[in-house]
């Protein structure tokens, strides 16, 4: 199982989808699980909008496939009770209607139920790889921390057992790893480094290569002025062309310099391998764009780890 996490707005759902595609290309049967999914992830992967049913989104010729589903907390709750042989009265009492009340009394319970369901899927070998698109913004760490946090409040009963089992899965790098996504900008990188420390330290998760999303391609030639650059091509620029190119170059130099600086920070402060995904000019992604991202992602993932 792999959890993909990042602050809101960094594209972690898209990266999770590209990861699913990259793994399927290598022949894996992949299950994409959206926890608090943004709409459109199913269609982006080539299938229908995701719901609680496990459906095939895409079959790759001669390779693996991508399946997808969501896990609503109330359904996870029902499944869990059934698994524990809890029947009749208790199941009715604990039905969807009273879940909000029970969840209010036991904080983190909804997250734990969802993680518990994912743990069951992992244990029964529902797929070669389960990719979890974690909740966004500040919610990724609380989501993953729910197992540890609950054991402080709840000291016995099935919820406690569930928390212990989920905690064991998260701490076992042979079963579960996390992928952190950031943009090559100061604030997102600072937040991602904080998230990495939290997941590694507090929760004990192993980390996959760090993903830097939306990187501009490096353009070393921008260091020269347009006129100087033209000279090395033995071309003469018109004054208008010189001015047009200069109007973008200043911004570009600054931007690319900042990007290099942030990537250096990730390298020195985290010491993780890194995948750089290209910035795509299209505002709305297609399955073709997802393939481009999967290519960039596959490179460091397929290399043997350090």
């Amino acid at each position: 199982m792999a959890v993909v996490a990042g602050k809101g707005g960094v594209g972690s759902s898209t990266v999770a989808a590209a990861f699913a595609l990259a793994a399927a290309r290598e022949g894996a049967d992949v299950l994409f699980v959206a926890v608090d999914g943004r709409p459109g992830m199913g269609p982006l992967l080539g299938g229908r909008e995701l719901d609680a049913n496990d459906r095939i989104l895409r079959r790759l010729k001669g390779a693996g496939q991508v399946r997808g589903r969501t896990i609503p907390a109330d359904q996870a709750f029902g499944d869990y009770l059934e698994l524990k042989g809890v029947g009749g009265m208790l199941r009715r009492a604990a039905s969807a209607a009273s879940l909000p009340m029970i969840a209010a009394a036991t904080p983190g319970l909804e997250h734990l139920l969802v993680l518990g369901k994912i743990k069951e899927l992992e244990r029964e070998g529902a797929a070669d790889l389960i990719i979890v698109d974690a909740p966004p913004a500040g919610h990724a760490a609380p989501f993953l921390r729910s197992a540890t946090g609950l054991s402080d409040v709840v000291q016995s009963g099935p919820v406690r057992d569930q928390a212990v089992e989920v905690d064991a899965m998260l701490r076992d790098p042979a079963r579960c790893l996390a992928m952190i996504v950031a943009l090559p900008e100061e604030t997102p990188v600072t937040e991602a480094i904080g998230l990495a420390d939290e997941l590694r330290g507090e929760i004990g998760l192993g980390l996959l290569p760090f993903v830097v999303n939306s990187c501009w391609s490096d353009r070393p030639g921008l260091a020269k002025s347009p006129a100087m650059a033209a000279r090395s091509h033995k071309v003469t620029l018109t004054p208008a062309a010189k001015q047009a190119l200069a109007s973008s170059a200043g911004f570009g130099r600054e931007r690319l310099e900042r990007q290099r600086h942030q990537i250096d920070r990730i390298r020195t402060e985290l010491g993780l391998p890194m995948a750089r995904l290209p910035r795509l000019a299209t505002p709305r992604l297609t399955i073709h764009d997802l393939g481009t991202l999967a290519d960039a992602l596959a490179e460091p993932l397929l290399e043997p780890g350090p």
């Binding site: 707005g9 009492a93 501009w216 347009p226 071309v235």
Partner: protein, 368 residues
């Protein structure tokens, strides 16, 4: 400059401004810049931030930890600020909830009974929608204190930014839940709770989470019953306040398609809910390079790899991105045609000091 290109109106007149929008678009920075603009307009203003980036928090003089929950004066504004004052604080959902409980209980003893309950301690920060509700609650506390000309509240980043608007109604909904009602209305001891739904609920909690949590839960709901009428009334007051002429909402977005989609959704919800809406700030817009003439473009086609090819490729890439961003902004501007739309360029560095906020403030008021 027309009123539709500036927030000078609400900055001068509003008593409450709520900034909302998707995550990662500079919402907190915009809230702080609106605060700077209002202080420079001579007003006494307090900005309530949620989870600000470290450097912005430093710029506002907010320290990490509980101390930041109290308003803190920002002292390094430029000299021409005059009589205006800017204060800032960082929202702490749990201590706002504590304050609410203290205010709503008849005695300190009653308040302690709730505040010391382990279930309360566990849920006060994480109850569904608690952060959103507490942002609004804090706004109400500051507004009714009479100490401020203007209260600006930055809202928690949320994929479902709409949660904020529904938070008071959600709290009322929670308090109206049948299980909650039977647990709190009956004054019998727990052992005698005979209502089927309530006893099943308690049984389920006991089976799932162990017996010790059951007593805490019942105790918690019982003590909450004492403050319920107050909470309910407060939720209704907040709901009225947010729709009054004193208040207004500012939606902050970036020109990325996903952010614009969320901003459009939010504008629809503000309009459907009859919330006053001042306008949209589109932040982080890439600059549009000057175009290459068709003749120059033809002359520069098919270059071999090298520095000039880098220049041309970069020019094309930036032009394409800037063009698609402007299309997204046009779509949003159509939707917000009768309110202010202010477009702010992507800055070479993230705003991290008061000087940067002053620059933004000038753009938000149309002074630059």
């Amino acid at each position: 400059m027309s009123d539709l290109d500036s927030f000078a109106g609400p900055i001068a007149d509003a008593a409450l401004i709520v900034t909302c929008g998707p995550g990662g678009v500079g919402k907190t920075t915009t809230a702080a810049a609106l605060g700077v603009a209002a202080a420079r307009a001579g007003r006494r203003v307090v900005v309530v931030t949620v989870d600000p980036a470290r450097r912005l928090a430093d710029a506002l003089g907010l320290e990490q930890g509980a101390a930041a929950d109290a308003p803190h004066r920002v002292t390094n504004l430029p000299d021409d600020t005059g009589d205006g004052e800017l204060w800032a604080l960082m929202l702490d959902a749990a201590s706002t909830f504590d304050r609410l409980v203290r205010e709503q209980t008849a005695s300190a003893k009653q308040a302690d009974a709730i505040l010391e309950n382990p279930v309360y301690r566990a849920i006060s920060g994480s109850l569904a929608g608690a952060q959103e509700y507490m942002a609004i609650e804090r706004l109400h506390q500051l507004h009714t204190s009479g100490e401020w000309d203007l209260v600006i509240v930055d809202t928690p980043p949320s994929r479902h930014a709409i949660d904020l608007l529904e938070a008071p109604d959600r709290l009322i909904g929670f308090l109206s839940h049948p299980v909650y009602r039977t647990l709190t209305v009956g004054q019998r001891a727990f052992a005698k709770v005979t209502n089927a739904a309530a006893s099943m609920f308690l049984w389920a909690v006991r089976r799932l989470a162990g017996p010790q949590i059951v007593e805490d839960t019942v105790e918690f709901f019982r003590s909450l019953a004492n403050i319920e009428p107050g909470l309910r009334q407060r939720a209704e007051e907040v709901s009225v306040l947010l729709r009054s002429d004193d208040a207004t909402f500012v939606v902050v977005s970036s020109p990325r398609a996903e952010a614009i989609g969320e901003a459009e959704h939010l504008i629809g919800a503000l309009r459907d809910g009859d919330f006053p809406f001042a306008g949209v700030v589109v932040n982080l817009i890439h600059p549009m390079p000057e175009p290459l003439t068709p003749a120059d473009r033809a002359a520069l086609a098919d270059l071999e790899d090298g520095p000039l090819a880098d220049h041309v490729a970069w020019h094309d890439e930036l032009t394409e991105l800037a063009t698609s961003e402007r299309e997204e902004i046009m779509a949003l501007a159509d939707l917000a045609e009768d309110v202010a739309v202010v477009e702010l360029p992507l800055m070479p560095v993230d705003v991290h000091d008061v000087e940067g906020l002053v620059g933004l403030a000038e753009q938000l008021t149309g002074d630059r």
